[in-house]
């Protein structure tokens, strides 16, 4: 019999027992072990050189990252700290009839429960204040928070959430943005229209442009909802002090404006709020507005103890912002040489349940939609609409990846139809120094042509197929 397995005992048990018996090693976990770190400061050359600009200087936080010593919020523990958890609605559109927190409050280890009705000003948002901190009367999407718990352990907080009973009366819901634009569609925020912002960019004479075109192409493009997936979930630690000031260590990319929102929801003077932006474990636009900060501040106020809240990965998906799905209709007229003469674009953005950064996304998408091309006749109209889905907000590119997918796909369609090389058709159309943008702006420092040529050179585009 052949045996290819050598079973070894995991650890020499005898040695281990001896080790355990030695008093010196009988250290209890209360004794925090010294964490070794290099005490000698080796500074890479790249950080010591002048001039500083242009150096491949190492990051000021790089060494701590590699040593595992960067303190993210979940790594911070304050004495007496409690753990908060938020109950999520799980229904997309409903009236909240009743929230019964009594069973949760009675649980040993539960120190406080909070509902939406206890939030001094229960609304926030960077453009429109259409988002409740915790839903109180109505649920707008399934990831809405409806109650929160602070408990001595995270597990107790989680189990307490199960004991909170919320009674809902279902309301009609709408999930498709194009459906939501119809007059007959259920209103997400009645009595307001589901179309909550529009934007237009118009230049030249579109009809004449199309009339003068040798060829006109049309295509619809769509994109999906995407999550930022920062590796560190949203996290906040709140501590209310005896002077009535609250300090929030939080994963927020824009603390000054965040503080304004927090002050508004808590109905407090701005100078009573201190927001500390720790090193944030990834943002990509997803951590650009407040989420649970007011909840934790109020739980800390209620309990007189520091309270920490860290989103679960699930909450990260269902209750933080996401990337806007787009429906994009492109119509482009070109001359025989592939020079774009006219372009009409219609954009419909799925805003989800709240505005969040939709206005900004709408604006940027609308302006950028024609692409980096000289087009005399342009008309872009863009709409963003409410649906009863996870709210969409800022995400790396604010609508630009969506429209770029459309205008660049469209460009290749045109190139293929006219038998022009994709690089060549772009070179015939792109902006140059002094070009006029679709909003009439004279552009400076324009290097799109250089970027095309540089990338083509690096790729070996002109050498032909690999």
């Amino acid at each position: 019999m052949t045996v290819d397995t050598k079973l070894e005992t995991p650890v020499d048990t005898q040695t281990m027992e001896q080790a355990v018996l030695e008093p010196a090693t009988l250290r209890l976990p209360a004794v925090i072990p010294p964490v070794p770190f290099p005490i000698e400061t080796l500074v890479p050359d790249s950080r010591q050189q002048t001039p500083a600009v242009g150096q491949r200087a190492t990051r000021s936080d790089g060494r701590l990252h590699g040593l595992g010593q960067t303190k993210y919020i979940d790594d911070i523990v304050l004495p007496g700290m409690l753990y908060a958890r938020i109950k999520r609605a799980g229904v997309a559109s409903a009236r909240i009839v009743r929230v019964d927190t009594s069973a949760a409050e009675a649980m040993p280890g539960v120190m406080a429960v909070l509902t939406g009705r206890e939030i001094p000003v229960n609304s926030f948002g960077p453009s429109f204040q259409d988002q409740p901190v915790l839903a109180d009367e109505r649920v707008f999407h399934a990831g809405d928070g409806v109650a929160a718990v602070a408990a001595v352990t995270e597990q107790i907080a989680i189990e307490a959430l199960e004991k909170i009973k919320v009674e809902y009366e279902p309301l009609p819901a709408v999930f498709d943005p194009v459906e939501a634009m119809k007059e007959s569609a259920p209103k997400v925020h009645p009595p307001n229209s589901n179309i909550y912002a529009t934007k237009v960019v118009k230049r030249g004479d579109l009809d004449r442009g199309f009339a003068e075109s040798a060829h006109v192409f049309e295509r619809q493009f769509r994109t999906q909802m995407v999550e930022h997936v920062p590796l560190e979930p949203h996290a906040t630690l709140a501590e209310w002090d005896a002077n009535g000031r609250v300090t929030l260590w939080t994963t927020l990319g824009r603390i000054t404006l965040g503080r304004t929102d927090i002050a508004r929801t808590l109905k407090m003077p701005v100078n009573r709020i201190r927001v500390v932006g720790t090193i944030v474990g990834g943002n990509f636009g997803g951590k650009n507005e407040i989420t649970q900060e007011p909840v934790l501040a109020l739980l800390s106020k209620k309990t007189g103890r520091p309270v920490k809240g860290v989103f679960s990965r699930r909450e990260e998906f269902i209750s933080s912002t996401t990337r806007h799905p787009f429906v994009m209709d492109y119509k482009t007229g070109v001359d025989k040489e592939g020079k774009i003469i006219a372009r009409k674009v219609r954009l419909v953005l799925d805003g989800g349940a709240y505005c969040s950064w939709s206005e900004t996304t709408l604006g940027k998408a609308c302006i950028l939609a024609p692409g980096p091309y000289n087009i005399d006749n342009v008309h872009v109209e863009a709409f963003v609409v409410y649906t009863n889905k996870t709210m969409t907000g800022a995400m790396r590119g604010f609508g630009a990846p969506q429209v770029c997918f459309a205008y660049e796909s469209h460009m290749d369609d045109i190139a293929a139809a006219l038998g022009i090389d994709p690089l060549e058709i772009r070179l015939r159309n792109v902006f140059d120094e002094g070009s006029i943008s679709p909003t009439g702006q004279v552009l400076h420092s324009v290097v799109v042509r250089d970027s095309l040529l540089t990338a083509a050179e690096r790729f070996g585009w002109r050498e032909g197929r690999p």
Partner: protein, 169 residues
């Protein structure tokens, strides 16, 4: 409650834990070793990667009790008082980490790889990192940093630690 005893970063640690405590919670909450992160808590992201008996594992998918009698190495155990681990050095020089949250896990995966395969191919490095999600870097500079360490060590010049035991056949 379970009484457990394990070698953590070379030092014997004895503790009492609730049986359902994961190794990750134990390291973070009882030993204050917060280098291993909670990124998903279900073994998808790898931010909690530590090395147990020579093998990279997700500390969130192991009970502390299961590590009883074993040898656990965390990111805190790599550097000495005097020196960064070569991987930590290379990651710093290459700016291989951005937000840094995935970093400790990535470096532990890389260490486990290099202990086993001192001169890995790019494919082998990518395979070793596939359990460590990163959203910032595209993994590109991590791979370069790991290659740097492998090259600078040179074939056979590094004494590899004894192979581990978990599931080893």
């Amino acid at each position: 409650m379970s009484s457990i005893s394990m070698r953590v970063n070379g030092e014997m640690r004895t503790a009492t834990v609730a049986p359902e405590t994961t190794l990750l919670r134990f390291l973070r909450e009882q030993l204050n070793l917060t280098g291993a992160k909670v990124g998903c808590d279900v073994g998808d992201c790898g931010a909690c990667t530590v090395i147990v008996d020579g093998m990279a594992v997700n500390a969130c998918l192991m009970l502390a009790d299961q590590a009883d009698g074993r040898d656990v190495l965390t990111i805190e155990g790599l550097a000495t008082r005097d020196q960064l681990h070569p991987l930590q050095q290379a990651f710093e020089i290459h700016a291989a980490l951005q937000c840094g949250f995935c970093g400790p896990g990535v470096i532990m995966s890389a260490k486990a790889l290099l202990d086993e395969t001192p001169d890995p191919t790019v494919q082998e490095i990518n395979d070793a990192l596939a359990g460590n999600l990163c959203r910032c870097t595209g993994y590109t500079k991590m791979v370069a940093a790991i290659q740097d360490v492998a090259r600078s060590r040179g074939a056979g010049t590094v004494k590899l630690p004894a192979p581990g035991n978990i599931g080893r056949a």
